[in-house]
């Protein structure tokens, strides 16, 4: 090697070292600036451009709220317990007190694509997919070359599709016709609703003129828009179906107990709502017990609360039957008044024991969150659990009524009391058990309600009207009637709600029920036969 090339090599080395250390200096300065709200935006930009592996660690910690800066501005990542690790290596001893840089929505919006740009080339496909999906959410022109390179290298079809959408965000607003057509093809295939405003702008729907001049592109945009619209309608429909099912399952749980006591015993129990409330408070009591004595197994309170609530409310129901209701059989007006009085007593008792305000029943961790089945439609775990629980309870009631000796006796007493007594069935005892089971089922309904809404002394008052509506609509005496009534009302309510709003939807439902009852007073499913008519 001659002197000249040696010198140029040395100069190149020095320059490279200098720029590397300058970049490292920039990175350290940018890390320091993360604590300064006026300079944090520019600092994140600098860090995003950096090739240093510490850059990703910095941004990830900032996003996770685990980044700490000491008084000198040296960044640390807070780990489990009080563990601290220095981002730029070194001993890891912070100088002075640690502060947490302020992270607000503006910073989070900036961090999302920045983090995604680092993760485009990660080996783990799940991370790459998440990064691609994040980038597809908004238009990131400055990341275009990076995304194109990553898309070209990608082998996994699902991730490739996500990259296609991310590129579509950029290309639809560009000027290259071929890229636009490719982008529209990707959008049509994915039928992603977030492109709807762009497509409407291009094809000139709404009131404006089409912004797209090329006829081919406009045609492709129109078919993309049609695909997107039909997808949105499908998702809406499926969503409303699920919401209707979940509302129906809540109504079913509330009304099933009433269907048993009213349908089988012909007792108008105005305290039914309070039995729901007591079931909910039993759940609260079990949760309190667990948090005092088994704090590490908090999440198990729910399976324990189910039998506890059943037994508690069944007990109260049976006590009610023995003390008040058995004297009032055949006198519906008196039963109505007496049970209404009992409902007031129960509400006030709960107020005295637990206080007049709502109590907080926390969802166990396995019931929080949901799963995104389709874009924009999330199946929440708590609602799913209530649907499953409602089916379980219905199956239990059906099994008990159809397959057990007690159920046989209950059905016999319902159909013809004198004949059943003549056959040797202890009708009084059967009444007590029936009332107890009906109340117990109401308690189970209360457990479900505690997971979905607020638990307060007036909980029962909110659901009593709906419970009676379901039983009256469905027809008394048959389980199928309650099922039909509950799910019918739930689905109808949820199909009306998007169009009319929550308040008008409720009013419309009430109006429809009144009209239906006028035409068919016995409800959807009615018991037939002389004994039933003679009720």
């Amino acid at each position: 090697m001659n002197i000249r090339s040696l010198i140029s090599l040395c100069v190149a080395c020095v320059l490279a070292l200098a720029s590397a250390s300058a970049r490292a200096q920039d990175l350290r300065q940018a890390a320091k600036d993360l604590g300064d709200t006026a300079r944090v935006e520019a600092a994140v930009d600098v860090i995003t451009q950096s090739k240093d592996p510490a850059a990703l660690a910095l941004l990830q910690a900032l996003s996770d709220d685990t980044l700490r800066l000491d008084t000198a501005g040296t960044p640390f990542v807070a780990g489990e317990g009080n563990a601290l690790s220095a981002v730029f290596g070194g001993a890891g001893k912070p100088a002075g007190a640690l502060t947490t840089p302020l992270v607000d929505n503006r910073l989070r919006r900036q961090l999302e694509p920045a983090l995604a740009s680092f993760k485009l080339a990660f080996p783990d496909p799940k991370v790459r997919l998440a990064a691609a999906k994040d980038l597809a959410k908004s238009r990131n022109d400055e990341l275009a070359p990076l995304i194109r390179a990553a898309a070209a290298k990608e082998r996994d079809p699902e991730i490739k599709r996500a990259f296609g959408l991310a590129l579509a965000q950029i290309d639809l607003n560009g000027s290259d016709k071929q890229l636009k057509l490719a982008a529209l093809a990707a959008v049509t295939a994915a039928a992603d609703g977030s492109f709807k405003p762009d497509l409407e702008r291009m094809t000139g729907s709404a009131s404006a003129k089409p912004s797209e001049t090329d006829a081919d592109v406009r045609k492709a945009a129109l078919s993309a828009l049609q695909a997107v619209n039909s997808r949105i309608m499908l998702i809406s429909f499926v969503g409303n179906l699920f919401y209707g099912l979940s509302l129906g399952s809540v109504l079913l749980l509330c009304a099933l107990g009433l269907a048993i006591t009213f349908g089988l015993l012909r007792v108008i129990n105005m305290a039914h709502g309070e039995l729901l409330m007591i079931g909910a408070y039993s759940t609260y009591a079990v949760q309190r017990f667990f948090s005092s004595y088994f704090p590490t197994h908090q999440d198990w309170y729910l399976p324990v609360a189910v039998p506890v609530a059943f037994v508690a409310t069944a007990g109260i129901g049976m006590a009610l039957e023995r003390s008040v209701i058995r004297f009032l059989y055949g006198r519906p007006l008196e039963t109505l008044l007496a049970t209404w009085g009992i409902s007031l007593i129960l509400i006030q008792t709960v107020r005295l024991i637990f206080g007049a305000q709502n109590v907080a029943v926390a969802n166990p961790s396995y019931l929080a969150g949901g799963i995104e089945v389709m874009p924009g439609f999330v199946l929440t775990y708590s609602r799913l659990a209530v649907i499953v629980f409602a089916s379980a309870v219905t199956t239990f009631v059906w099994f008990m009524l159809q397959k057990t000796p007690l159920g046989l006796h209950v059905r016999a007493v319902t159909q013809n009391r004198e004949m059943a007594a003549g056959m040797g069935i202890a009708t009084r005892r059967v009444d007590v058990w029936t009332f107890g089971i009906g109340s117990g089922v109401a308690g189970l309904g209360g457990v479900a309600l505690s997971q979905l809404g607020n638990v307060g002394p007036e909980l029962g008052q909110q659901y009593i009207v709906d419970s009676f509506m379901v039983v009256v609509l469905g027809g008394v005496g048959k389980l199928a009637g309650t099922l039909a009534g509950a799910f019918g009302l739930g689905l109808l309510n949820k199909l009306l709600e998007p169009a009319a709003g929550a308040v008008l939807g409720k009013i419309a439902i009430l109006g429809l029920i009144i009209l239906f009852i006028q035409r068919r007073p016995q409800g959807i499913f009615a018991l037939k036969g002389r004994a039933a008519e003679a009720m």
Binding site: K137, S236, L247, G370, R383, N454, A502
Partner: protein
């Protein structure tokens, strides 16, 4: 068969008609009073009978049961704490304050009845109370008829300025408008589409009307605004949250929530469960503070916003003392939930209102309503919000600073935007054409809360005597 079903329907009617305990037979109570019935008589009506010696009775009119109890119970507690503090330093005019606490149970006609009882039977010198605007509208005619004094500590929709009420909560220009402006700005996400979500009563409806005019003035089309209402106590927000996501697809959108009471708990749970993240679709609430967040897991809600004139996390010596005093009071009185209790904006407004009334009574030398009313104007208090709040000389509203903050994982708030100093309240919104002409000015020559011309315009001062 038919008679049973008639009985069923009778039972249904009974259930629907009677809202259960806590609902006394509605007596002479009037509900849904018209706004700001200005009783600006030339000579004020004779004040309710207030004793001259012995303890001074002070009314506390907050719901301690029902759907609003989650928000209002703490106001009762902090009012009692402030009264204890004043009594400990000698009371007012050498007399001890005696609180009279009543529970109107989130029942609006019952608010009016209880207010009448406080003024006529108990002879209270002043009342601190109400949260929902419908409760305030219900008690307004009672206070104006009996010439009582009410201090109202909660943010509200404006369009009112009564001779008998002092408003220590925010008017729309001190909360709603700055919040929407922030969300429109680049910092707040540059929202182009808006979802206005509220509970179905006067406050959300009026606030959303004002916001619509404001947004229209900023060039937002009607099709870019979605408005939805739910009844008090509503708990099923699945469809609404899904609709918000559908409406927002592809455009930066912000949600303005005026949902009140315990409906907020299932609403925020649904937001969390359906994965509505604050950086994508920020939700700013006007009736949710530290107290309402206490019962929810705040980790999935990080980044959603609230706009108030005070937050517990604001750092200054007055707030440190306020919080310390509150925690000591909670411990001493063994209040439920002990060390998990928090402070919030309406509590601070209650505290400031009571102090201002006490100062005004000392200045006037009497607790007579007419004298104290004159003395309240211009009172100042160095408040826990970090600023000196002053009662305006003319419109019965406080000058308050505006803070916008994001929810943190521990249920506290971090401030992301604030005004330089206190902002003067504009009870009549300049964005609504009918209201822009109106003036709320109780000084001569206007002497009215909602007029376009002074009552004593062009007349000498003696005309008002």
């Amino acid at each position: 068969m038919k008679s049973r079903f008639e009985l069923m329907l009778l039972g249904l009617l009974a259930a629907v008609g009677c809202k259960g305990p806590g609902d006394a037979a509605p007596a002479a109570a009037t509900s849904a009073a018209p706004a700001a019935a200005s009783v600006a008589a030339a000579a004020p009506a004779p004040a309710a009978k207030v004793a001259d010696t012995g303890p001074i009775k002070v009314g506390i009119l907050h719901s301690l049961s029902g759907t609003m109890a989650i928000s209002e119970t703490s106001l009762k507690d902090v009012a009692l704490m402030t009264i204890d503090q004043i009594n400990a330093s000698g009371g007012v005019l050498g007399r001890k304050l005696e609180p009279v606490v009543v529970d109107p149970a989130s029942d609006w006609p019952l608010f009016a009845e209880k207010a009448r009882g406080l003024l006529q039977k108990e002879g209270v010198a002043v009342t601190f109370g109400c949260w929902t605007s419908v409760s305030r509208k219900s008690v307004l005619p009672v206070f104006e008829e009996l010439n009582g004094l009410l201090f109202y500590p909660v943010q509200y929709e404006g369009e009112e300025s009564s001779f008998n009420v002092f408003y220590t909560g925010a008017a729309p220009n001190q909360q709603a408008i700055p919040a929407v402006e922030y969300l429109m700005s680049k910092e707040g996400g540059a929202a182009k589409k808006w979802v206005l979500l509220g509970t179905d009563y006067v406050y959300p409806r009026t606030t959303n009307k004002i916001l619509r005019y404001f947004l229209k003035g900023k060039g937002v089309a009607d099709s870019d605004i979605m408005e939805q209402y739910t009844p008090f106590g509503h708990s099923d927000y699945q469809t609404i949250v899904a609709d918000v996501k559908k409406f927002a697809a592809g455009t930066p959108t912000a949600v303005v929530s005026t949902i009140n009471g315990d409906s907020n708990v299932p609403f925020y749970k649904e937001l969390a469960n359906q994965g509505l993240k604050a950086k994508d679709i920020p939700v700013v609430a006007f009736s949710v503070g530290e107290e309402e967040l206490r019962g929810i897991d705040a980790k999935p809600l990080v980044g959603h916003l609230a706009a108030w004139n005070y937050f517990m996390s604001v750092k200054n010596p007055e707030n440190d003392k306020f919080i310390a005093d509150w925690k000591a009071y909670v411990k001493a009185k063994n209040l439920p939930d002990g060390d998990k209790r928090v402070t919030n904006d309406p509590m601070e407004a209650t505290y400031v209102g009571i102090k201002m009334w006490a100062q005004a009574a000392e200045q006037a030398g009497t607790v007579d309503v007419n004298a104290v009313r004159q003395a309240v104007a211009g009172q100042t208090v160095k408040a826990p919000s970090g600023f000196t709040l002053s009662m305006d000389y003319k419109n019965h509203h406080l000058h308050k600073p505006v803070y916008i903050a994001e929810i943190k994982a521990d249920g506290q708030f971090q401030v992301v935007w604030k005004t330089e100093g206190p902002v003067r309240a504009m009870p009549w919104s300049p964005f609504v054409p009918e209201s822009a002409k109106k003036v709320a000015d109780w000084t001569f020559p206007w002497v009215c809360g909602n007029c376009t011309e002074g009552k004593f315009k062009g007349q000498p001062a003696t005309a008002a005597l």
